[in-house]
């Protein structure tokens, strides 16, 4: 197991290196349509100023030299460079943005796991009942509803500034946890619910399908033949097996969200997270920032998948890594 983890971690390094290189290549080879130096210089700039900026960020050097410099700074000094846009340190900026994204993703994750698993179990146990059909119908709606629409509807209904039933803080009310835990919590309730809706629906369907399949296994019949209550049969014997695929889905989904995939929710609710940071970076051809968020995103996804694979060995005793 230890050797397996070490080998996987080495692969993480290789993968991150590949991701950084490919991002650099795409940025340099493809016509970006926007010159970072010109964008930085502001409206109708003096050509000399543009040249100066270009020189300062070493954009006048060959791509290979730029790449070499970036990699060597990254490897030797863990220096992610400075933003072309506003001179801030990329790593600092990422660390400043991460808490918001992590708060949003983890909170939503708790909501969707709770709702998805409960609804999935009830639907599986009461298969073909009205309850099941209603839940599965609603889940289709939740999966189909775009987050930007759902978010706006939520704000329109419940936000304390523009809402019809103003009970919850609306857009732009994100407060860091360290500033005020209560405001942090209330401010994130709507974003959590909106972000969790589609995931809860997907997980409910996943759990339902898996549980229905598991409940026809021979060992479920054995559990019943033992005289266990149906509740124990379902929760201890059925769900235990049916939950395995949920763990792998969770690794992937959470990784993507932490990598900035919650951008729509962040935008609707005006939360200063990684998603919006990447969006701004791309719009402004801000290569160091793009590299930074891409690198962190890749790290999140790869590491979470590694955690999932390790968790598998604990969930299913038949899984052994070597």
């Amino acid at each position: 197991m230890g050797r397996y983890i070490v080998r996987r971690l080495l692969w993480v390094v290789v993968l991150v290196f590949a991701v950084v290189t490919i991002t650099f290549l795409i940025f340099s080879v493809l016509p970006s349509g926007a010159d970072p130096a010109r964008l930085r210089a502001g409206r109708s700039p003096n050509p000399r100023l543009v040249e100066e900026i270009r020189h300062r960020y070493k954009l006048d050097q060959p791509v290979t030299a730029q790449y070499g410099l970036y990699i060597s700074n990254l490897v030797t000094k863990l220096d992610f460079g400075h933003s072309f846009q506003n001179d801030t340190d990329v790593l600092d900026e990422i660390f400043k943005r991460l808490p918001a994204t992590i708060s949003l993703a983890l909170g939503a994750c708790v909501v969707w796991l709770f709702v998805g698993i409960s609804v999935g179990i009830i639907s599986a146990v009461r298969r073909r009942s009205i309850l099941d059909r209603t839940a599965m119908g609603l889940s289709l709606v939740a999966i189909s509803a775009p987050v930007f629409w759902l978010g706006l509807v939520a704000l329109y209904l419940f936000a304390d500034d523009i809402g019809k039933i103003p009970i919850l803080p609306g857009a732009g009310s994100y407060t860091p946890l360290t500033d005020d835990p209560i405001k942090w919590f209330t401010g994130l309730i709507l974003p959590w619910l909106v972000l969790a809706a589609a995931f809860a629906a997907i997980y409910a369907r996943l759990v339902r399908g898996n549980l229905i399949e598991t409940m026809s296994e021979d060992y479920i019949r054995t559990a019943r033949a033992k005289g266990l209550s149906e509740r124990k049969v379902i929760l201890r014997h059925g769900l235990r097996s049916a939950i395995t695929p949920v763990v792998s889905a969770l690794g992937l989904d959470l990784g993507l969200l932490l990598a900035g995939n919650a951008i729509l929710t962040e935008t609707v609710f005006n939360i200063p997270g990684i998603g919006r940071m990447s969006y701004n970076a791309i719009v402004n051809s801000d290569l160091p920032t793009i590299e930074g968020v891409v690198l962190f995103g890749a790290l999140f996804i790869v590491v979470l998948n590694l955690i999932v694979d390790i968790a598998y060995a604990f969930i299913d005793p038949r899984v052994r890594y070597s």
């Binding site: 296994e217 021979d218 060992y219 019949r221 054995t222 559990a223 019943r224 033949a225 033992k226 005289g227 266990l228 209550s229 149906e230 201890r236 014997h237 235990r240 097996s241 969930i315 299913d316 005793p317 038949r318």
Partner: protein, 365 residues
């Protein structure tokens, strides 16, 4: 001796998309303490559904069940789900065909045994764990205490079935139902498991029901045998009687299809032709008639009832052939004749003898 488990006129049918499946159609049998009943039949004969129904494991919105299954004065068919739960795994325990898929892959064997114990007994985890170790020892697993910490996939096939048996014995059941207990196991292990069941029965005085498609399995272990076909009992008798003078052509087929140790090596095993009948559209008349080598025209219309055989107490059969004819046919089969040949011989004689068969159509040629 009064019966421990007494099943009377059990009917089980399931609604399916293609129609109503009559899985069990009027089955009665009883099991006494310390005795073993073998229920024999092909897949689809209703033998497993019968046992699962006794355990209350076939209940559901699309299932219709009637009849009674009395366990010491309590009807398991009429019992509520709560009452049944106290009986399952406690008074009546069951083991299944494939021990690998019947044990939960994610839990240690010890955990699963402890669960079985604690479901019906108010004992501490430690005491239950000790008892689990004793149970594994009882079923002949070496190094039992150490083995409790293993997962089912770390056990061999025979050991898994032993663990299943240990789990079934956790609460000293009065009746043990074994549904194809050896089918998924190696031949050498099969004998060990059957021996183990017989030994435990002698020690614990349980009533045992062994369900199998293989007459060889029950030959050594069962006291009495019930042969099922298409959801009904077609023959029942003591084991010795069934092997000595079987009456039903289906039982003959089953006997001819198992190898005999005493027979010549090149002896041909004769399979029963055709396939088990549909339980949705039962064949008219005798359900076995489409596959019976000795079928006569009238058998396609008349439904045989399970009837006593005059000079053979405890032996009952559901067959329309005259008793004398059956005896002669079996004698010829025993002498090594093919079913076709035996039929022709006997029918030629019957044609000269206008006795029991009067009123029935001329034999099919």
């Amino acid at each position: 001796m009064t019966a421990l488990l007494d099943v009377t006129d059990l009917h089980v049918s399931f609604d399916s998309e293609d129609g109503v499946v009559k899985a069990v159609d009027g089955v009665s049998f009883s099991v006494e303490a310390g005795r073993t009943l073998g229920i024999v039949g092909e897949s689809g004969s209703g033998k497993s559904v019968t046992s699962l129904t006794v355990m209350g494991l076939t209940r559901g919105p699309s299932t219709k069940i009637s009849g009674t299954a009395m366990l010491e004065g309590e009807d398991l068919i009429a019992a509520s789900e709560d009452e049944l739960r106290h009986i399952r795994g406690n008074d009546v325990a069951m083991i299944f065909q494939d021990p690998l898929s019947s044990l939960h892959p994610f839990y240690k064997v010890g955990t699963q045994l402890v669960e079985a114990i604690q479901t019906h007994q108010r004992v501490s985890r430690g005491a239950a764990y000790d008892r689990a170790g004793e149970l594994l020892e009882l079923v002949g697993i070496p190094d039992a205490r150490h083995r409790l910490e293993h997962y089912p996939h770390e056990f061999s096939g025979g050991m898994r079935q032993r663990a299943m048996i240990a789990m079934a014995l956790a609460n000293d059941p009065k009746v043990l139902i074994a549904d194809e207990p050896t089918t998924a196991l190696d031949v050498t292990v099969q004998a060990q498991i059957l021996e183990l069941i017989a030994r435990l029965q002698a020690e614990l005085g349980m009533g045992v029901v062994i369900i199998t498609h293989d007459l060889g399995v029950v030959a050594e272990t069962a006291d009495d045998i019930v042969v099922m076909y298409a959801g009904r009992i077609v023959e029942e008798s003591s084991t010795d009687t069934l092997f000595d003078r079987p009456e039903h052509p289906y039982a003959w087929g089953l006997l001819e299809s198992i190898p005999k140790l005493t027979g010549p090596r090149e002896e041909e095993l004769i399979p029963i032709p055709g396939r088990p009948p549909s339980l949705i559209h039962r064949p008219t008349g005798c359900a076995f008639h489409p596959r019976c080598p000795y079928v006569r025209e009238a058998h396609k219309r008349t439904d045989p009832q399970l009837e006593k055989i005059a000079d053979d107490p405890g032996h009952r059969v559901a067959c329309l052939l005259p008793h004398q004819t059956r005896r002669e046919l079996w004698a010829k089969l025993q002498a090594g004749e093919e079913p076709e040949q035996a039929r022709e011989d006997v029918e030629l004689r019957d044609a000269d003898r206008p006795t029991q068969d009067a009123g029935l159509d001329a034999p099919r040629r």
